[in-house]
């Protein structure tokens, strides 16, 4: 009998493109026939602020003494036309998130935390609640295509108005709030039947294009007497032209939201495949402001995946005047906290990954309208956590600014930065570390 040698088997080779997530999504789609809907922003790897480094002080730059020499963090938003611009103590604001997508407790906590730190919070696609107004010293009222709950009285209670043209998670897409979260109160505020899947329009019902927006802003100023700033929020897609057009339309402030910016609920395919990264949108927007001689006159607020003081400092160095946080603020309140791991597991997720915010079953009581779950969030304690987080971000930003010799966080500049990758160097238009090469400039 001839001996048959054992043939060695090659190690099973997973596909780099048909990875576990992709395979599971194909199976899920095949089983349900429905696209995947989720909350949060883009999760795919992409160039981000971690790909930038500050140079710090050296022979030619001297630093400021930490905790001794002043480093201003205050910023004024909206002094182009408004009689009462927004005066922020820190350059970090809370992004628009609706009551409906968030519990009343979460909205209250956001207001408490932001107010404690002297910054603003923002309504969302669902109108202004008394709790939110009451707990927010500075409240920005979003003016959205749906106009849910919109009325002149609330408009006049706002400290600023943000005309939402687009959102980073879904430029060109409207809002979505599924039936599970359309409770009696939410339905009443939005004039909808209870339990319907609410689809907000993707564009405004009474204007299209920048010429119309100019007239719309004119109307809002007529209604509010021109007292408060008018922001224009755009999703990052064509940041140079959109910023230029927002300036032309008369906006006091441009809010620019990159694709890592979160949403309450949108198709996964939209979140991951439409829009451009936050890192890529800042320099074109700043260039538009410079070309219009409006840099620092029309303020730029950047949002989308900002997580710490270093991210804040990098945004400011690239030319922004302030930033806005959403997802990070929710995490500070208690979102995706491992203390609820058992509950996350029961929902088929895990702490840190939970993004089925549209289903209304958030164990942390934040992205839900469930009265029992909502009670899990103590607004005072959560507001305190948010205030702590904002304080840490501010201190981190100041630390970096002082290390680069700046007495004002907004004095940080692109010259203070280098990039770790060719891609991030090209997007941020700063040199690749250790070189003087900025891809795309000088003919290369």
């Amino acid at each position: 009998m001839t001996h048959q040698p054992t043939i060695p088997r090659t190690t099973p080779r997973p596909s780099s493109i048909f990875d576990d997530y992709t395979l599971s999504e194909i199976r899920r789609a095949a089983a349900t026939g429905v696209y995947d809907i989720r909350g949060a922003g883009a999760k795919r790897p992409m160039p981000h602020f971690d790909d930038l480094l500050f140079l710090g002080a050296s022979m030619s730059r001297y630093p400021l003494e930490g905790y001794r020499e002043a480093c201003n963090t205050a910023v004024t938003l909206g002094d182009r036309f408004a009689e009462k611009p927004i005066e922020l103590k820190i350059p970090i604001t809370i992004a628009g998130m609706s009551f409906g997508s968030l519990s009343a407790q979460a909205k209250e906590a956001l207001g408490r935390g932001a107010s404690a730190m002297g910054t603003s919070t923002t309504t969302g696609d669902g109108g202004m609640t008394p709790e939110e107004r009451g707990h927010s010293t500075l409240l920005v009222y979003q003016y959205l295509p749906s106009r849910y709950g919109m009325n002149p009285d609330d408009l006049r209670k706002a400290d600023a108005i943000e005309v939402v043209v687009g959102q980073g998670a879904k430029p060109g897409g409207g809002g979505m709030l599924l039936g599970q979260k359309i409770t009696e109160r939410v339905a009443e505020m939005r004039t909808l039947p209870q339990g319907v899947d609410q689809r907000s329009a993707c564009r405004h019902p009474d204007w299209t294009g920048p010429d119309d927006l100019e007239i719309k802003i004119h109307e809002l100023r007529e209604i509010t007497g021109g007292h408060v700033p008018i922001y224009a929020k755009i999703g990052a897609s064509r940041p140079y032209f959109d910023t230029a057009l927002a300036i032309k339309a008369g906006a006091d402030v441009v809010v620019l939201d990159g694709m890592q910016g979160g949403t309450a609920a949108t198709q996964e395919v939209f979140i991951e495949h439409v829009g451009i990264p936050t890192l890529a949108c800042i320099r074109p927007a700043v260039q538009a402001l410079i070309d219009a001689d409006m840099h620092r006159k029309v303020q730029l607020v950047v949002s989308g995946g900002i997580r710490n003081g270093a991210d804040v400092a990098k945004c400011l160095a690239l030319g922004a005047d302030a930033v806005s946080i959403g997802t990070a603020a929710l995490v500070a309140l208690g979102d995706n906290d491992p203390r609820w791991e058992e509950d996350y597991q029961a929902l088929g997720s895990t702490a840190g990954c939970y993004d089925d915010w549209h289903e209304g079953n958030d164990p942390a009581g934040i992205t839900t309208q469930d009265p029992v779950l909502s009670q899990r969030l103590d607004p005072e304690a959560a507001g305190r956590r948010l205030a702590n987080f904002l304080a840490v971000m501010t201190l981190e930003c100041q630390t970096i600014a002082r290390a680069n010799g700046k007495s004002d966080v907004r004095n940080l500049e692109p010259e203070d930065l280098v990039a770790l990758t060719v891609e991030s160097a090209a997007m941020a238009k700063v040199p690749l570390a250790g070189t003087d090469w900025i891809p795309g400039q000088g003919g290369y």
Binding site: V34, L192, P193, P205, D206, W207, I223
Partner: protein, 227 residues
């Protein structure tokens, strides 16, 4: 009757005058002359005053109106009485796109025709149009009534929620999830009262009623062709 001449008075000043009428004042009747197509004329009014605008107006006339009665003797531009809350807005001529958009309440009466998207996302406003309405009127209409004495353009009531639509003339086509419904006695009476409020002479029995089929209220894969 207090006169405001927009040829002499800046719009902001004129609007502030109308927005800040003292509650105990006898100033209840105003006339605006020479609007010359200005935008946002009589926008943001919140008191029960009467304002007559003599001439054509631009975008957003009587925007967000609350309590006031605004009458435009002429034509109106885009977004007439947008997001109106209550009161009454009347136009003797035609109105452009998005008349009564997102209106929460009150009565909007347009004697002539309106362009597309009349009553888009309406949330409780009642709209009576003496002439015809353009395409996509009452798109995503949530609440309130739209009564059209003339014809309706394509895709009437697309993605409708609970707004009620009445059309006397021809409907070019219905939008997704909008269907014709029976005109019951209840609806005849309701429409009759609306026409009376609008001071429009028409027989409710000449109208047909349209409303939501409620098939798109919750996502169903079998309705994929309608999304």
């Amino acid at each position: 009757m207090i006169e405001i001449d927009l040829a002499q008075t800046p719009l902001r000043q004129a609007n502030r005058r109308l927005q800040q009428v003292a509650p105990d004042s006898n100033e209840r009747s105003f006339v605006i002359r020479n609007p010359q197509g200005a935008h946002a004329v009589a926008a943001g009014l919140t008191d029960p005053i009467e304002v007559t605008v003599e001439g054509h107006v631009g975008f957003y006339c009587a925007g967000m109106n609350k309590e006031a009665e605004v009458k435009v003797i002429g034509h109106a531009g885009v977004g007439l009485a947008e997001n109106m809350m209550s009161g009454r807005v009347q136009v003797t001529g035609n109105a452009s796109e998005s008349a009564g958009a997102t209106g929460h309440g009150g009565l909007l009466v347009i004697a002539g025709d309106t362009s597309s998207r009349c009553g888009i996302s309406m949330k409780g406003i009642d709209i009576v149009v003496g002439g015809s309405v353009g395409h996509m009127s009452a798109f995503m209409g949530q609440a309130g009534c739209l009564a059209v004495l003339g014809d309706a353009g394509p895709s009437l009531g697309d993605s409708l929620y609970e707004a009620r639509l009445y059309v006397r003339g021809r409907v070019a086509s219905l939008g997704a999830d909008c269907k014709e419904k029976e005109m019951t006695q209840h609806h005849l009476e309701k429409l009759g009262r609306l026409l009376d409020r609008a001071k429009v002479s028409a027989n409710p029995r000449d109208f047909r009623r349209y409303g939501s089929a409620r098939q798109l209220y919750n996502f169903k894969i079998d309705n994929i062709g309608s999304y």
